[in-house]
Symmetry: D3
């Protein structure tokens, strides 16, 4: 592969992906809304771009084979604030990818697209959407868009429904944790699988308590290696009281399920806002 | 019921609903983007509003019990043109309905939210979205939004996935036809059912060749009476050659499935653009 | 058929079945815990029996081909009170039917065996149990027992999950109503179908708003004729306010779903206690 | 349509189809292994052909738009006897239809392709095969072949899984009966539906006791009108004793399910051997 | 956790659980119908109680957080003998747990609740009940009761459907074996999972030949470590002749499936009667 | 076990099975259409037989307990050429096994029985057939036949749907590879499982990218040990360009899905014709 573009490269997850992605393509073009993202890796270049600006995205994707789209507000915020980066941003990426002739979009979707399912339903990759926030609703939008671009325009997508890629700090995360190594494997499989069509896969490690079912995405070859169970004893000992009335404990979305729509601050809980970071 | 608001009242389907809706509430407030919609029925008043303008929608819904939301561009157009009336319009209606304390949104969704399914798959109301156009994508967005407002905010919705409510002019329409009488029954059930939570139901008559499965929405009590089969002999005799390579003949979405994204003109085929009509 | 036994013959539903059952067998033996059940029909005899007493049931079933088992407390009561008539009563009937060589048990089961399912889930006859009361739990027990007697002992059963066979007095009953004529047809089919194995079928009329799915029991040939929709206008006009927080409005079991376990008085709502009536 | 070919035209079902088929095409070419099939209808011609002979079939289909393939041994016989007419016959018809450029094969399949399912399983059109005889195995073979010719060669097929198209003489037939009028409607829909791809549909009337589920074939528009229930009283009165150990009473295939493989004589029960008739 | 109560502590499985349970709570109260259960572990106390006696159970659960309910007759016996310990015992435990404000019941359910399923059906945790014995019927009763107490009274339950926790002595046990270590892990997960709602999970080791599907209970984090395959060579060499007519070899329930209802002695085969042991 | 017969013993896969099979029975009778198959293993004898000849097969199976049936043309060829060895061969084996009183047929079925399913559908063992070639159609025929012989004649079968048991030379094979060791384990489990009824299981190693679901065959105890992922880096580096229009890349059947029916030469791609080899 000649060229991969990474959006949200300055964000927390994006930062972890930069180095591995340089090894998957001749050129990695990293992008973010920030002025710069620090030292670049060999084979990496940086282009500042606002993903809410179509022309900027169009230029960014010029000549690329694939785009790894992680740029977004990674927090719940009011719909009006979400509209540009998360909704239009997704549209811009797929539309520019189509017009520029890319082969595939690899997208950081989220468990929050289906976050209102009860946690003790073992949900597969083909369940209907049940978003828990405007943040999750934007993921639903992008997934549906991605499916349509495949069916109407033969542009492939792999949507990575990440559960929680952050330090394990709660009982929920014993099930939802995605280690950085497994994240990298997941993104690698999403890129190196020769043909994917439109695919969805949960981004979660091989946790004993994993609450989602990736079996139908088996052909992608994602086999996580890490397991949050090694944190279980400490986490459970320090856990707040169990409460079956708390949606945060009873739904897949965790705190996103229990927080009022549009109320920010969730990023501080277990997901960090990539866009504001730099 | 004291007050119902109807958006898209100047459109083709909206026009048919005005009179019946006056009989379901003390007051019907009809609304459209047009200057006026002609003579009003007893109990009906008219408020001009652009549904893409939140404040206008907020004012419009003041004091209402339910809103019947039919206002939208009813054609495929480029995403940028769809954004205001169909995406933001839907958000505005649900958000204002929530803030104004309405009980329910009755929404004109569409088969195009799932239009890429093969026509010989008998799809139920719970299949994942497979939109065929930006038009259909906006329906997916609104349905997911509606489900979320129910699950997070206890605002009910009934999403009517209308197949084709227009004259029967093609073999496809022998299966997809929704008569005006059945449309009125459908909207009436969506309003008079005491509690609905979040519901989806296909808007289709009792056609012999109906390709969708409403059984799971049975509790709503929608029992269509009309049957397009009486048009079959004439329509089949005049039909263009069958062509299994034509997506318009092989997918639920019909011509929307075979038309490039963003290309307008589908309204003239079997759906008329309500918003441009007056 | 030579002889049918009817338990609960003095109850409300039992009373309706006596005359039709005399036409399906040479002899009908009616039974109840009451001293007598009034005038007998030609071909009918009466034997007083307490179904909680095995020996009485054993004697009662002597020489019968089938037993139509409607005897039970038809109200929610504390578990200890339910134990005799509803749990042991069911065991006694199946055990005596087996020992006496009967061919089949036709059993008045109830929607309350699955009453905690959300009303807008269109439940089929094969969903796992979700009882809403001790009353419903006894139905679960009897259904599981009946399946086991079929699989281990080749004694057939047809379990009629009656929704609500009483006057239509609530919006819920627009969906759940079982007319007396349809009840009679249902019991007749349960008897005249030559082989049934173990079968479950919902007892509900052909209501527009029926919330359950009998399709998998189609081979029994039950085709209801009545439709509660003719009561809809009046019932909906007089209905109490819709309330989505009220389990009685949101679950299949209606008031049974919202009433505390063991609290009696539900019989007065839409089911009458047959055993106390005479 | 210009030309339709009917095989098995001299058989019992074929005989009923000849006159209606002349009204669906300019020319009907009837064929059978017999010397002649009696007086011809206007627009009908007759060509004698052995369907086990590829060249004869190839010639027969020359210039046709569709073939209605009913020619076969309609009885259970040893595999070696079945091989020519039922297995090779099917291959010959599809292969010649492909080479001659026909649009579609309408095929007389049978419930016996799935005859070992328990009768109280409400089987849909997409269940895996469970043949009950070599006769049924040949139907499985032809259905799989037909699906492959659609997927690999774009030749359409409609497989009519006929239950029992004959006089109602047993309790089983109260559920399985297909009236001649409904047979004609079914074949008509299989022909006049513009595009079908590969389709399966059960051939059964609107019997109260119908044991199969055609809902997924709804788009074909087959709506049977007849109902065997009018024969129920007489048939049930005369029925032999119910016997749950008798597979003929407990499986969809009826007597085919209980008869040893390869043992002929079933034709006399409720299906007549068309090929030997003339 | 402050206090856990264990019933059936004198039984075979209960005995294995005593020591591990002392490490999960400040206090373990062990109970059985026996006079004593021998030496106590640090942190353990013993209270003799008959679980068929409500008052005794009520007293026993005073102040507890959870109850691990293993007390029962662990053999098939006539229904009348099963009624007290297995049916009333279960009711008493849940009812007392509710009244005493416990958080959760961990229950020794059994494969025999679904033992009549064919062994080559890979059954999940949500299949409808198909009990094979009165013993299994009591498990069905308790599971349905537990679900109801969760849905009506917010008392959690985890039902452990143990397959066979005993020495591997038959080919069936190569699939059904639950090692003691895995039993302990299973019970530990059932206790330390912060919120469980109502849950069912099969109690089986990581056997190559495991015939049941625990995937839907994945969120509980039960990951068995042992595998009966190491016994395979010896067991298969010594196995009695395979016999497809023997229900004990063809159904999940094994010998329970082939033994007449109510006939005791199964305990000696691979489950030992805990209550009679001391 | 006293005696096992292996057909296709001279073929590529058959050759690998000979030695392991001698360890599973007192006598192994190997058979092929070739004059000889070289040196025999201790306990092995050789009988030349044409499986298309019933009498030869009948003689071959005399006194055997099981037959491992791998003899067939292992390539796509015109139907007429396939008929003898693959269709009649299968019939002959099952029929002779029945008449000779064997206990079980272990059959080399193939992914090509379901090869037209999209590769990103995770297909289980119970999906309806979708053959991709005449070769696959013969596998469908044999599987349906095998199920019928079990249901009508109590002759067991285990159908091994082998994906690709050959050197890993393509990206597809990273998912479909079956190592020789895993093949041997698979055949061993198919033989040593005491009762199997009619079973289907995919023959595939424990590849990260495995595209099929064997979970429902779990009770057979097949646990593959090998994983083609170790070849991934090299294979992906050398892979031809990904092409979503190429059915060979998008369907389970690989090149069989994209090759015209009846066109030979596929054997050279990743399956070798066993019958012509010696």
């Amino acid at each position: 592969m000649k060229k991969i573009v990474l959006t949200g490269a300055g964000g927390r997850l994006g930062s972890y992906l930069r180095e591995p992605l340089t090894r998957l393509a001749g050129t990695l073009v990293s992008s973010d809304i920030a002025e710069d993202i620090g030292m670049l890796y060999p084979g990496e270049s940086y282009i500042r771009a606002d993903i809410a600006d179509y022309d900027a995205v169009h230029t960014l994707l010029d000549g690329a084979d694939m785009v790894v789209h992680f740029g977004a507000i990674v927090d719940e915020v009011p719909f009006e604030e979400m509209l540009g980066p998360n909704f239009l941003g997704a549209y811009n990426v797929w539309e520019a990818a189509f017009r520029q002739g890319l082969k595939r979009v690899v997208y950081a979707s989220s468990i929050h697209a289906v976050g209102m399912y009860p946690r003790n339903e073992f949900i597969g990759i083909d369940v209907p959407h049940r978003p828990d926030t405007f943040y999750g609703l934007a993921k639903c939008f992008a997934e549906d868009l991605g499916r349509m671009y495949w069916e109407k325009r033969q542009l492939e997508s792999v949507c990575l429904r990440i559960l929680s890629c952050a330090q394990v700090t709660s009982p929920r995360a014993l099930g939802t944790w995605l280690s950085y190594d497994d994240l990298i494997q997941l993104v690698t499989r999403a890129i190196d699988t020769p043909t994917t069509g439109f695919s969805i896969v949960y981004g979660v490690s091989d946790n004993d308590r994993s609450p989602v079912d990736n079996s139908a995405a088996s052909y992608l070859g994602y086999r996580p290696r890490d397991n949050a169970e090694r944190f279980a004893e400490r986490i459970l000992a320090e856990a707040p009281p169990a409460d079956t009335d708390d949606l945060a404990q009873m739904r897949h979305g965790g705190p996103f399920a229990s927080t009022p729509l549009g109320q920010s601050g969730l990023a501080g809980m277990n997901i960090v806002d990539d866009r504001k970071k730099t």
